[in-house]
Protein backbone atom coordinates (compact mmCIF):
# COMPACT_ATOMS: atom_id res chain seq x y z
CA UNK A 1 0.00 0.00 0.00
CA UNK A 2 1.26 3.52 -0.72
CA UNK A 3 1.27 4.85 2.77
CA UNK A 4 2.36 8.39 1.94
CA UNK A 5 -1.19 9.61 1.42
CA UNK A 6 -3.10 9.95 4.66
CA UNK A 7 -6.84 9.53 4.22
CA UNK A 8 -9.33 12.18 5.29
CA UNK A 9 -11.62 11.07 8.09
CA UNK A 10 -15.25 11.43 7.12
CA UNK A 11 -18.36 10.47 9.02
CA UNK A 12 -21.47 8.91 7.49
CA UNK A 13 -24.75 10.63 8.34
CA UNK A 14 -27.83 8.61 9.32
CA UNK A 15 -30.43 10.02 11.70
CA UNK A 16 -31.33 13.68 12.03
CA UNK A 17 -29.18 14.16 15.14
CA UNK A 18 -26.26 12.40 13.48
CA UNK A 19 -26.76 14.59 10.40
CA UNK A 20 -26.50 17.69 12.60
CA UNK A 21 -23.29 16.33 14.14
CA UNK A 22 -22.01 15.42 10.68
CA UNK A 23 -22.53 18.95 9.38
CA UNK A 24 -20.78 20.39 12.41
CA UNK A 25 -17.78 18.16 11.82
CA UNK A 26 -17.75 19.11 8.16
CA UNK A 27 -17.71 22.75 9.12
CA UNK A 28 -14.59 22.05 11.17
CA UNK A 29 -12.97 20.25 8.22
CA UNK A 30 -13.97 23.10 5.92
CA UNK A 31 -12.36 25.76 8.06
CA UNK A 32 -9.33 23.77 9.20
CA UNK A 33 -7.97 22.96 5.77
CA UNK A 34 -6.56 25.87 3.80
CA UNK A 35 -7.65 24.36 0.49
CA UNK A 36 -11.14 23.36 1.51
CA UNK A 37 -11.63 26.75 3.08
CA UNK A 38 -10.75 28.17 -0.32
CA UNK A 39 -13.61 26.38 -2.03
CA UNK A 40 -16.47 28.84 -2.19
CA UNK A 41 -19.25 26.27 -1.98
CA UNK A 42 -18.06 25.21 1.42
CA UNK A 43 -18.62 28.68 2.86
CA UNK A 44 -22.28 28.04 3.80
CA UNK A 45 -21.24 24.93 5.69
CA UNK A 46 -19.10 27.07 7.94
CA UNK A 47 -22.16 29.04 9.05
CA UNK A 48 -23.44 28.93 12.63
CA UNK A 49 -25.30 25.75 13.57
CA UNK A 50 -29.02 25.96 12.82
CA UNK A 51 -31.21 26.97 15.76
CA UNK A 52 -34.83 26.04 16.34
CA UNK A 53 -36.41 29.46 15.85
CA UNK A 54 -38.83 29.99 12.92
CA UNK A 55 -36.36 32.55 11.53
CA UNK A 56 -33.86 29.72 11.08
CA UNK A 57 -36.30 27.68 9.05
CA UNK A 58 -35.93 27.63 5.29
CA UNK A 59 -39.15 26.92 3.36
CA UNK A 60 -38.54 24.98 0.18
CA UNK A 61 -40.57 23.59 -2.69
CA UNK A 62 -39.69 20.64 -4.90
CA UNK A 63 -40.60 20.67 -8.59
CA UNK A 64 -40.44 17.20 -10.11
CA UNK A 65 -40.95 14.32 -7.71
CA UNK A 66 -39.63 11.47 -9.86
CA UNK A 67 -36.59 9.31 -9.12
CA UNK A 68 -34.13 12.10 -8.37
CA UNK A 69 -36.72 14.38 -6.81
CA UNK A 70 -37.65 11.62 -4.35
CA UNK A 71 -34.00 11.17 -3.41
CA UNK A 72 -33.55 14.91 -2.87
CA UNK A 73 -36.74 14.92 -0.79
CA UNK A 74 -35.45 12.08 1.43
CA UNK A 75 -32.26 14.08 2.01
CA UNK A 76 -34.10 17.35 2.65
CA UNK A 77 -36.30 15.66 5.25
CA UNK A 78 -33.08 14.88 7.15
CA UNK A 79 -31.58 18.35 6.79
CA UNK A 80 -31.80 20.52 9.91
CA UNK A 81 -33.80 23.75 9.56
CA UNK A 82 -35.57 22.79 6.32
CA UNK A 83 -39.32 22.77 5.86
CA UNK A 84 -40.76 21.21 2.72
CA UNK A 85 -43.64 23.60 2.18
CA UNK A 86 -44.73 22.58 -1.32
CA UNK A 87 -44.44 19.79 -3.85
CA UNK A 88 -45.15 20.03 -7.55
CA UNK A 89 -45.44 17.35 -10.21
CA UNK A 90 -47.75 17.20 -13.20
CA UNK A 91 -47.86 13.39 -13.10
CA UNK A 92 -50.45 12.53 -10.40
CA UNK A 93 -48.95 9.19 -9.22
CA UNK A 94 -45.61 10.90 -8.48
CA UNK A 95 -47.20 13.90 -6.78
CA UNK A 96 -49.38 11.68 -4.56
CA UNK A 97 -46.43 9.49 -3.56
CA UNK A 98 -44.40 12.56 -2.62
CA UNK A 99 -47.24 14.22 -0.69
CA UNK A 100 -47.64 11.02 1.34
CA UNK A 101 -44.06 11.48 2.60
CA UNK A 102 -44.42 15.11 3.77
CA UNK A 103 -47.07 16.13 6.26
CA UNK A 104 -48.61 19.54 5.64
CA UNK A 105 -46.95 20.27 2.28
CA UNK A 106 -49.13 21.84 -0.41
CA UNK A 107 -49.40 19.97 -3.69
CA UNK A 108 -49.34 21.56 -7.17
CA UNK A 109 -49.47 20.31 -10.73
CA UNK A 110 -48.33 23.63 -12.20
CA UNK A 111 -45.03 25.09 -10.97
CA UNK A 112 -46.17 28.68 -11.67
CA UNK A 113 -48.88 28.38 -9.03
CA UNK A 114 -46.33 27.06 -6.58
CA UNK A 115 -43.98 29.95 -7.36
CA UNK A 116 -46.81 32.34 -6.42
CA UNK A 117 -46.51 31.24 -2.77
CA UNK A 118 -45.03 34.37 -1.15
CA UNK A 119 -43.52 32.55 1.83
CA UNK A 120 -41.56 30.05 -0.24
CA UNK A 121 -37.81 30.80 -0.03
CA UNK A 122 -36.49 28.51 -2.73
CA UNK A 123 -37.20 25.66 -5.10
CA UNK A 124 -35.44 22.50 -6.17
CA UNK A 125 -35.93 21.57 -9.80
CA UNK A 126 -35.70 17.87 -10.71
CA UNK A 127 -37.66 17.69 -13.94
CA UNK A 128 -36.60 16.40 -17.40
CA UNK A 129 -33.74 18.35 -18.99
CA UNK A 130 -35.79 20.33 -21.55
CA UNK A 131 -37.76 21.92 -18.68
CA UNK A 132 -34.76 23.05 -16.61
CA UNK A 133 -34.38 26.43 -18.29
CA UNK A 134 -38.06 27.51 -18.48
CA UNK A 135 -38.66 26.56 -14.83
CA UNK A 136 -35.36 28.11 -13.63
CA UNK A 137 -36.23 31.36 -15.41
CA UNK A 138 -39.75 31.38 -13.90
CA UNK A 139 -38.26 30.76 -10.44
CA UNK A 140 -35.75 33.63 -10.73
CA UNK A 141 -38.53 35.89 -12.05
CA UNK A 142 -40.59 34.99 -8.97
CA UNK A 143 -37.64 35.94 -6.74
CA UNK A 144 -36.89 32.44 -5.50
CA UNK A 145 -33.56 30.81 -4.71
CA UNK A 146 -32.92 27.91 -7.09
CA UNK A 147 -31.37 24.47 -6.91
CA UNK A 148 -31.43 22.93 -10.40
CA UNK A 149 -30.55 19.36 -11.13
CA UNK A 150 -27.82 18.70 -13.64
CA UNK A 151 -27.30 19.14 -16.51
CA UNK A 152 -27.87 22.89 -16.56
CA UNK A 153 -30.01 23.12 -19.68
CA UNK A 154 -31.07 21.58 -22.97
CA UNK A 155 -29.27 24.10 -25.21
CA UNK A 156 -26.30 26.44 -25.00
CA UNK A 157 -28.61 29.43 -25.50
CA UNK A 158 -30.66 28.29 -22.50
CA UNK A 159 -27.50 27.92 -20.38
CA UNK A 160 -26.71 31.53 -21.27
CA UNK A 161 -30.26 32.63 -20.43
CA UNK A 162 -30.08 31.03 -16.96
CA UNK A 163 -26.67 32.59 -16.26
CA UNK A 164 -27.98 36.00 -17.39
CA UNK A 165 -31.13 35.72 -15.26
CA UNK A 166 -29.09 34.76 -12.22
CA UNK A 167 -26.52 37.53 -12.63
CA UNK A 168 -27.51 40.43 -10.46
CA UNK A 169 -30.55 38.61 -9.04
CA UNK A 170 -28.84 38.25 -5.67
CA UNK A 171 -30.42 34.82 -5.40
CA UNK A 172 -28.73 31.57 -4.48
CA UNK A 173 -28.19 29.20 -7.38
CA UNK A 174 -26.94 25.69 -6.95
CA UNK A 175 -26.49 22.92 -9.52
CA UNK A 176 -27.03 19.21 -8.83
CA UNK A 177 -23.42 18.18 -9.30
CA UNK A 178 -23.04 16.55 -5.91
CA UNK A 179 -19.38 15.58 -6.44
CA UNK A 180 -18.49 19.20 -5.63
CA UNK A 181 -19.60 18.39 -2.08
CA UNK A 182 -18.23 14.86 -1.85
CA UNK A 183 -15.46 14.46 0.76
CA UNK A 184 -13.78 11.94 -1.56
CA UNK A 185 -13.60 14.34 -4.51
CA UNK A 186 -12.59 17.22 -2.25
CA UNK A 187 -9.75 15.15 -0.86
CA UNK A 188 -8.75 14.23 -4.41
CA UNK A 189 -8.72 17.90 -5.40
CA UNK A 190 -6.66 18.73 -2.34
CA UNK A 191 -4.04 16.12 -3.26
CA UNK A 192 -3.94 17.36 -6.86
CA UNK A 193 -3.41 20.94 -5.74
CA UNK A 194 -0.74 19.74 -3.30
CA UNK A 195 1.10 18.33 -6.32
CA UNK A 196 0.85 14.69 -5.24
CA UNK A 197 0.35 13.42 -8.79
CA UNK A 198 2.30 16.26 -10.45
CA UNK A 199 0.53 18.39 -13.05
CA UNK A 200 -2.57 16.76 -14.56
CA UNK A 201 -1.47 15.47 -17.97
CA UNK A 202 -4.62 13.57 -18.89
CA UNK A 203 -8.04 12.74 -17.51
CA UNK A 204 -10.11 9.79 -18.55
CA UNK A 205 -13.67 9.15 -17.48
CA UNK A 206 -16.19 6.51 -18.37
CA UNK A 207 -19.64 5.35 -17.35
CA UNK A 208 -20.60 1.87 -18.50
CA UNK A 209 -23.88 0.10 -17.78
CA UNK A 210 -25.58 -2.92 -19.21
CA UNK A 211 -29.29 -2.29 -19.49
CA UNK A 212 -31.83 -0.61 -21.72
CA UNK A 213 -32.01 2.55 -19.52
CA UNK A 214 -35.79 2.43 -19.61
CA UNK A 215 -38.48 2.88 -17.00
CA UNK A 216 -41.40 0.44 -17.19
CA UNK A 217 -44.44 2.01 -18.89
CA UNK A 218 -47.93 0.94 -17.73
CA UNK A 219 -50.38 -0.10 -20.47
CA UNK A 220 -52.71 2.68 -19.38
CA UNK A 221 -52.27 5.59 -17.03
CA UNK A 222 -52.97 9.26 -16.48
CA UNK A 223 -53.08 11.70 -19.36
CA UNK A 224 -49.43 12.06 -20.45
CA UNK A 225 -49.78 15.63 -21.79
CA UNK A 226 -47.85 17.76 -22.55
CA UNK A 227 -45.92 14.63 -23.67
CA UNK A 228 -47.50 12.80 -26.61
CA UNK A 229 -47.38 9.41 -24.85
CA UNK A 230 -46.68 7.77 -21.49
CA UNK A 231 -43.59 6.20 -23.05
CA UNK A 232 -42.16 9.65 -23.75
CA UNK A 233 -43.17 11.01 -20.36
CA UNK A 234 -41.55 8.20 -18.42
CA UNK A 235 -38.61 7.57 -20.76
CA UNK A 236 -37.96 11.17 -21.74
CA UNK A 237 -34.17 10.68 -21.55
CA UNK A 238 -34.30 8.41 -24.64
CA UNK A 239 -35.77 11.12 -26.91
CA UNK A 240 -33.99 14.12 -28.40
CA UNK A 241 -36.87 16.53 -27.84
CA UNK A 242 -36.34 16.25 -24.07
CA UNK A 243 -32.77 15.15 -23.44
CA UNK A 244 -29.32 14.86 -24.98
CA UNK A 245 -28.96 11.28 -23.76
CA UNK A 246 -25.78 9.93 -22.18
CA UNK A 247 -23.96 13.25 -22.48
CA UNK A 248 -26.38 15.31 -20.40
CA UNK A 249 -27.63 12.51 -18.13
CA UNK A 250 -24.34 10.78 -17.22
CA UNK A 251 -21.30 12.50 -18.76
CA UNK A 252 -22.20 15.87 -17.24
CA UNK A 253 -21.05 14.64 -13.80
CA UNK A 254 -17.59 13.63 -14.94
CA UNK A 255 -17.10 16.54 -17.32
CA UNK A 256 -17.93 18.84 -14.41
CA UNK A 257 -15.20 17.10 -12.39
CA UNK A 258 -12.75 17.52 -15.29
CA UNK A 259 -13.45 21.25 -15.66
CA UNK A 260 -13.25 21.67 -11.90
CA UNK A 261 -9.94 19.86 -11.49
CA UNK A 262 -8.42 21.56 -14.55
CA UNK A 263 -9.93 24.88 -13.45
CA UNK A 264 -10.93 25.67 -17.03
CA UNK A 265 -13.50 24.95 -19.68
CA UNK A 266 -12.54 22.99 -22.81
CA UNK A 267 -11.57 24.98 -25.88
CA UNK A 268 -13.03 22.36 -28.22
CA UNK A 269 -14.11 18.76 -28.54
CA UNK A 270 -14.66 16.03 -31.10
CA UNK A 271 -16.34 12.68 -30.88
CA UNK A 272 -18.52 9.93 -32.24
CA UNK A 273 -21.68 8.28 -31.07
CA UNK A 274 -24.15 5.78 -32.43
CA UNK A 275 -26.97 3.41 -31.59
CA UNK A 276 -25.29 0.05 -32.08
CA UNK A 277 -27.16 -2.19 -29.68
CA UNK A 278 -30.43 -0.83 -28.26
CA UNK A 279 -32.25 -0.36 -31.58
CA UNK A 280 -35.67 -0.09 -29.94
CA UNK A 281 -36.95 3.22 -31.26
CA UNK A 282 -34.86 5.43 -29.00
CA UNK A 283 -33.32 8.55 -30.49
CA UNK A 284 -30.30 9.09 -28.25
CA UNK A 285 -26.99 7.28 -28.74
CA UNK A 286 -26.37 4.13 -26.71
CA UNK A 287 -22.59 4.65 -26.89
CA UNK A 288 -20.63 7.89 -26.96
CA UNK A 289 -16.93 8.77 -27.21
CA UNK A 290 -15.80 12.38 -26.88
CA UNK A 291 -12.36 13.95 -26.45
CA UNK A 292 -12.15 17.43 -24.91
CA UNK A 293 -9.17 19.70 -25.53
CA UNK A 294 -8.08 22.29 -22.95
CA UNK A 295 -6.02 25.44 -23.50
CA UNK A 296 -3.01 24.05 -21.58
CA UNK A 297 -2.75 21.06 -23.89
CA UNK A 298 -4.47 18.57 -21.58
CA UNK A 299 -7.08 16.23 -23.03
CA UNK A 300 -10.08 14.69 -21.29
CA UNK A 301 -11.19 11.43 -22.84
CA UNK A 302 -14.77 10.40 -22.11
CA UNK A 303 -16.82 7.41 -23.10
CA UNK A 304 -20.11 5.88 -22.06
CA UNK A 305 -22.10 2.86 -23.18
CA UNK A 306 -25.06 0.85 -21.95
CA UNK A 307 -24.30 -2.59 -23.37
CA UNK A 308 -21.39 -3.66 -21.14
CA UNK A 309 -20.80 -2.89 -17.49
CA UNK A 310 -17.46 -4.62 -16.91
CA UNK A 311 -15.56 -1.39 -16.25
CA UNK A 312 -18.43 0.40 -14.45
CA UNK A 313 -17.74 4.09 -13.91
CA UNK A 314 -14.59 5.94 -13.07
CA UNK A 315 -12.80 9.26 -13.32
CA UNK A 316 -9.06 8.85 -13.69
CA UNK A 317 -6.87 11.85 -13.01
CA UNK A 318 -3.34 11.21 -14.24
CA UNK A 319 -0.03 12.95 -13.71
CA UNK A 320 3.63 11.95 -13.83
CA UNK A 321 3.67 11.17 -10.09
CA UNK A 322 0.43 9.29 -9.70
CA UNK A 323 -3.15 8.50 -10.61
CA UNK A 324 -6.37 9.19 -8.76
CA UNK A 325 -9.42 7.06 -9.36
CA UNK A 326 -11.96 9.33 -7.76
CA UNK A 327 -15.08 7.14 -8.02
CA UNK A 328 -13.27 4.26 -6.32
CA UNK A 329 -11.76 6.85 -3.99
CA UNK A 330 -8.14 5.75 -4.36
CA UNK A 331 -4.77 7.24 -5.20
CA UNK A 332 -1.94 5.26 -6.80
CA UNK A 333 1.64 6.40 -6.79
CA UNK A 334 3.69 5.96 -9.98
CA UNK A 335 6.58 4.86 -7.77
CA UNK A 336 5.04 3.13 -4.78
CA UNK A 337 7.40 2.24 -1.91
CA UNK A 338 8.84 -1.25 -2.50
CA UNK A 339 7.28 -4.24 -0.76
CA UNK A 340 9.12 -5.45 2.37
CA UNK A 341 12.24 -7.49 1.62
CA UNK A 342 10.77 -10.74 2.93
CA UNK A 343 7.70 -10.34 0.70
CA UNK A 344 9.95 -9.70 -2.32
CA UNK A 345 11.98 -12.80 -1.43
CA UNK A 346 8.87 -14.99 -1.11
CA UNK A 347 7.47 -13.62 -4.40
CA UNK A 348 10.81 -14.31 -6.08
CA UNK A 349 10.87 -17.90 -4.81
CA UNK A 350 7.24 -18.42 -5.86
CA UNK A 351 7.92 -17.12 -9.37
CA UNK A 352 11.11 -19.14 -9.60
CA UNK A 353 9.13 -22.27 -8.73
CA UNK A 354 5.94 -21.73 -10.65
CA UNK A 355 6.64 -19.56 -13.69
CA UNK A 356 7.48 -21.21 -16.94
CA UNK A 357 10.87 -20.24 -18.32
CA UNK A 358 10.20 -18.55 -21.67
CA UNK A 359 12.19 -20.13 -24.48
CA UNK A 360 12.41 -18.03 -27.59
CA UNK A 361 9.50 -15.85 -26.33
CA UNK A 362 9.21 -12.08 -26.69
CA UNK A 363 12.18 -10.20 -25.38
CA UNK A 364 10.01 -7.36 -23.98
CA UNK A 365 7.84 -7.33 -20.88
CA UNK A 366 4.19 -6.52 -21.74
CA UNK A 367 3.28 -3.12 -20.25
CA UNK A 368 0.10 -4.30 -18.58
CA UNK A 369 -1.82 -2.33 -15.98
CA UNK A 370 0.12 -1.88 -12.76
CA UNK A 371 -1.15 -4.09 -10.00
CA UNK A 372 -0.62 -1.71 -7.07
CA UNK A 373 -3.31 -1.49 -4.43
CA UNK A 374 -3.11 2.26 -3.86
CA UNK A 375 -4.54 3.95 -0.81
CA UNK A 376 -7.99 5.24 0.03
CA UNK A 377 -8.67 8.96 -0.09
CA UNK A 378 -11.06 8.92 2.88
CA UNK A 379 -11.26 6.48 5.74
CA UNK A 380 -15.00 5.90 5.75
CA UNK A 381 -16.07 4.31 2.49
CA UNK A 382 -19.79 4.49 3.30
CA UNK A 383 -19.65 8.24 3.06
CA UNK A 384 -22.33 10.46 1.45
CA UNK A 385 -21.87 11.02 -2.30
CA UNK A 386 -22.24 14.74 -1.66
CA UNK A 387 -26.02 15.00 -2.05
CA UNK A 388 -26.73 15.32 1.68
CA UNK A 389 -24.03 17.95 2.11
CA UNK A 390 -25.19 19.86 -0.97
CA UNK A 391 -28.72 20.02 0.46
CA UNK A 392 -27.36 21.46 3.71
CA UNK A 393 -25.24 23.95 1.75
CA UNK A 394 -28.28 25.10 -0.24
CA UNK A 395 -30.36 25.59 2.91
CA UNK A 396 -27.53 27.39 4.71
CA UNK A 397 -26.87 29.72 1.75
CA UNK A 398 -30.53 30.70 1.66
CA UNK A 399 -30.58 31.22 5.43
CA UNK A 400 -27.54 33.49 5.18
CA UNK A 401 -28.91 34.99 1.94
CA UNK A 402 -25.48 34.61 0.36
CA UNK A 403 -25.18 33.07 -3.11
CA UNK A 404 -22.33 30.60 -3.43
CA UNK A 405 -19.67 32.21 -5.63
CA UNK A 406 -18.46 30.14 -8.55
CA UNK A 407 -21.47 27.84 -8.60
CA UNK A 408 -23.00 29.19 -11.82
CA UNK A 409 -19.57 29.02 -13.47
CA UNK A 410 -19.36 25.30 -12.63
CA UNK A 411 -22.92 24.74 -13.87
CA UNK A 412 -22.30 26.58 -17.16
CA UNK A 413 -18.96 24.95 -17.85
CA UNK A 414 -20.29 21.41 -17.48
CA UNK A 415 -23.67 22.20 -19.07
CA UNK A 416 -22.10 23.79 -22.15
CA UNK A 417 -19.33 21.17 -22.43
CA UNK A 418 -21.72 18.23 -22.66
CA UNK A 419 -23.83 20.06 -25.24
CA UNK A 420 -20.63 20.70 -27.24
CA UNK A 421 -19.97 16.96 -27.05
CA UNK A 422 -23.48 16.22 -28.29
CA UNK A 423 -23.12 18.69 -31.17
CA UNK A 424 -19.70 17.29 -32.09
CA UNK A 425 -21.15 13.80 -32.44
CA UNK A 426 -24.25 14.98 -34.30
CA UNK A 427 -22.30 17.16 -36.74
CA UNK A 428 -19.24 14.87 -36.87
CA UNK A 429 -16.90 17.80 -36.55
CA UNK A 430 -14.80 19.58 -33.95
CA UNK A 431 -16.89 22.03 -31.91
CA UNK A 432 -15.35 25.04 -30.20
CA UNK A 433 -16.38 26.60 -26.87
CA UNK A 434 -19.03 29.20 -27.77
CA UNK A 435 -17.33 32.51 -28.25
CA UNK A 436 -18.65 35.27 -26.02
CA UNK A 437 -20.38 32.91 -23.59
CA UNK A 438 -20.71 34.71 -20.24
CA UNK A 439 -20.68 32.37 -17.23
Amino acid sequence: MDSEFSPLASPAPQGRAQRREFLKRLAVVASSSALLADLPWWTPLRAEPVGNSPADRVRLGLIGAGTRGSFLLANLLQTPGVEIAALCDDYPPHLEAALAKVKGARGFSDHRQMLDMPDLDGVLIAVPLFLHAPICLDAFAAGKHVFCEKSLAYSIAECQAIADAHRGSGKVFQIGHQRMFSPVFLRALQLVRDGRIGPITQMRAYWHRNGNWRNPVPASGPDPSPFPSLERRLNWRLYLDYSRGLMTELASHHIQVANWFLDAHPVSCAGYGSINYWKDGREVYDNVNVVYRYANGTQVVYDSLISNRFYGMEVQIMGPEGTIEAETGKIFSENPPPAPGIVQLINGIEHGFFSAVPIGGPSWVPELKKDTKGSYLVQDQSTDDGTAISMAAFANSIRANKPIPGMMEQACRSGVSVLMGHNAMEQQQEIAWPEGFRE
Binding site: P338, P340, G341, I342, V343, Q344, L345, I346
Partner: protein, 80 residues
Protein backbone atom coordinates in the same frame (compact mmCIF):
# COMPACT_ATOMS: atom_id res chain seq x y z
CA UNK B 1 -12.02 -42.02 26.10
CA UNK B 2 -8.35 -42.58 26.75
CA UNK B 3 -6.32 -39.58 27.98
CA UNK B 4 -3.23 -38.76 25.92
CA UNK B 5 -0.33 -37.85 28.16
CA UNK B 6 2.42 -35.70 26.64
CA UNK B 7 5.50 -35.77 28.84
CA UNK B 8 7.01 -32.44 29.90
CA UNK B 9 10.32 -33.32 28.20
CA UNK B 10 8.55 -33.70 24.87
CA UNK B 11 6.81 -30.34 25.22
CA UNK B 12 10.12 -28.67 26.08
CA UNK B 13 11.74 -30.27 23.00
CA UNK B 14 8.96 -29.05 20.70
CA UNK B 15 9.27 -25.54 22.11
CA UNK B 16 12.99 -25.59 21.34
CA UNK B 17 12.26 -26.78 17.80
CA UNK B 18 9.72 -23.98 17.40
CA UNK B 19 12.21 -21.42 18.73
CA UNK B 20 14.77 -22.73 16.25
CA UNK B 21 12.27 -22.32 13.40
CA UNK B 22 11.56 -18.75 14.51
CA UNK B 23 15.28 -17.98 14.65
CA UNK B 24 15.67 -19.41 11.13
CA UNK B 25 12.77 -17.26 9.89
CA UNK B 26 14.37 -14.16 11.42
CA UNK B 27 17.60 -15.06 9.60
CA UNK B 28 15.64 -15.30 6.33
CA UNK B 29 14.19 -11.85 7.02
CA UNK B 30 17.68 -10.43 7.72
CA UNK B 31 18.92 -11.98 4.45
CA UNK B 32 15.93 -10.47 2.55
CA UNK B 33 16.57 -7.01 4.04
CA UNK B 34 20.23 -7.15 2.99
CA UNK B 35 19.43 -8.64 -0.41
CA UNK B 36 16.73 -6.08 -1.34
CA UNK B 37 18.22 -3.09 0.55
CA UNK B 38 15.06 -2.46 2.55
CA UNK B 39 14.68 -0.92 6.03
CA UNK B 40 15.80 -2.70 9.22
CA UNK B 41 12.51 -1.71 10.86
CA UNK B 42 10.98 -4.47 8.74
CA UNK B 43 12.29 -6.91 11.37
CA UNK B 44 9.47 -5.53 13.53
CA UNK B 45 6.90 -4.43 10.93
CA UNK B 46 6.90 -7.80 9.15
CA UNK B 47 6.88 -9.86 12.35
CA UNK B 48 3.58 -11.44 11.29
CA UNK B 49 5.21 -12.69 8.08
CA UNK B 50 8.24 -13.97 10.04
CA UNK B 51 5.88 -15.90 12.33
CA UNK B 52 4.08 -17.38 9.31
CA UNK B 53 7.42 -18.43 7.78
CA UNK B 54 8.41 -19.98 11.14
CA UNK B 55 5.14 -21.95 11.17
CA UNK B 56 5.85 -23.20 7.64
CA UNK B 57 9.38 -24.28 8.70
CA UNK B 58 7.94 -26.06 11.74
CA UNK B 59 5.34 -27.88 9.62
CA UNK B 60 7.96 -28.98 7.05
CA UNK B 61 10.26 -30.13 9.87
CA UNK B 62 7.39 -32.09 11.47
CA UNK B 63 6.81 -33.87 8.16
CA UNK B 64 10.51 -34.72 7.80
CA UNK B 65 10.66 -35.91 11.40
CA UNK B 66 7.57 -38.10 10.95
CA UNK B 67 9.11 -39.58 7.82
CA UNK B 68 12.45 -40.31 9.54
CA UNK B 69 10.68 -41.73 12.60
CA UNK B 70 8.53 -44.00 10.41
CA UNK B 71 11.49 -45.26 8.38
CA UNK B 72 13.47 -45.94 11.55
CA UNK B 73 10.57 -48.03 12.92
CA UNK B 74 10.39 -50.01 9.70
CA UNK B 75 14.14 -50.74 9.75
CA UNK B 76 14.16 -51.60 13.46
CA UNK B 77 11.29 -54.04 12.88
CA UNK B 78 13.23 -55.75 10.06
CA UNK B 79 16.41 -56.02 12.16
CA UNK B 80 14.45 -57.55 15.05
Amino acid sequence: MKDIIIPGRRIARELWVLAGCFAAAVCVNVYAILRFHTAWKELITTLHITLAVAAVFYAVLALVRALVFGLMRVFRGKVA
